[in-house]
Symmetry: C2
DNA sequence: GGAAGACACTTGACAAAGTATAGCACTATG
DNA sequence: CATAGTGCTATACTTTGTCAAGTGTCTTCC
């Protein structure tokens, strides 16, 4: 198949970001480092199995760093690496778009809710 | 569960965009309207079943518009609605990030990418 | 004129991805 | 001492996406 046409960074980037929970994880981590369960909750209820897979992948990709403070009792923290921090702009863009096109509660008086989610 | 905490447009926006193929579809459509199969190919080989579901969802969300030119022979075109066009900024941000952190082929002969995908 | 291919889907079997739940070894709190 | 919390892992289950094939009509090629 033509999965390997010309190498395209945008395509690859989208591939990375569209994985379920990935952007939520990045967004949560932009506010500062978090522990595993803490992150799971911040992200909106991702279950540990999926979370671990995502985290491993993102670490391997160099987007975040894992620091084990103590093994028993378990204490770990996850924080964004520079490449991850640079995603701030992407999240910002999504943020702006979301506010403009999804936020019906805030500006309901003048504009019709063009986007319904849920 | 706190699935329905305070309504957060960013969260919703991420939810919309992280669905598989969604960003690829938007990106493809930013270059102009496309037909169904055409779009499927542009997007990188999404199968028709999934593509239809995504397209229906995006249309329902108001991100794109479907125009049936003729039913038989079938001829339809999909194009971005204003809300979809506004995603250009998001795609641009992803583009920039991708080029900065994923594009290894452009500047060096090294075959080992710092970020391996797929 | 007849076969082949394109178009926009649809269907149904199947695989992959994500989820729920429980549990481990341990500490801190009440 | 019991309960809740830590970072994870294992198992079973559900949701989601994929593949292959088919539909009816038109266009293109020979």
């Amino acid at each position: 198949m033509d999965a390997e046409r010309e190498y395209c960074p945008v395509h690859e980037a989208i591939q990375v970001l569209q994985a379920k929970w990935t952007m939520h994880i990045v967004r949560a981590l932009l506010d500062g480092p978090l522990g595993f369960n803490e992150l799971g909750r911040a992200v909106g209820g991702c279950n540990p199995a999926t979370l671990k897979v995502r985290l491993d992948h993102l670490e391997e990709l160099g987007l975040l760093r894992r620091t084990v403070h103590s093994q028993m009792p378990p204490r770990t923290s996850y924080e964004l690496a520079p490449a991850g921090v640079d995603l701030q702009r992407v999240i910002d863009a999504i943020d702006a778009w979301g506010r403009e096109h999804l936020d019906v509660a805030a500006g309901e008086a003048d504009e019709e809710p063009s986007l319904a989610v849920g």
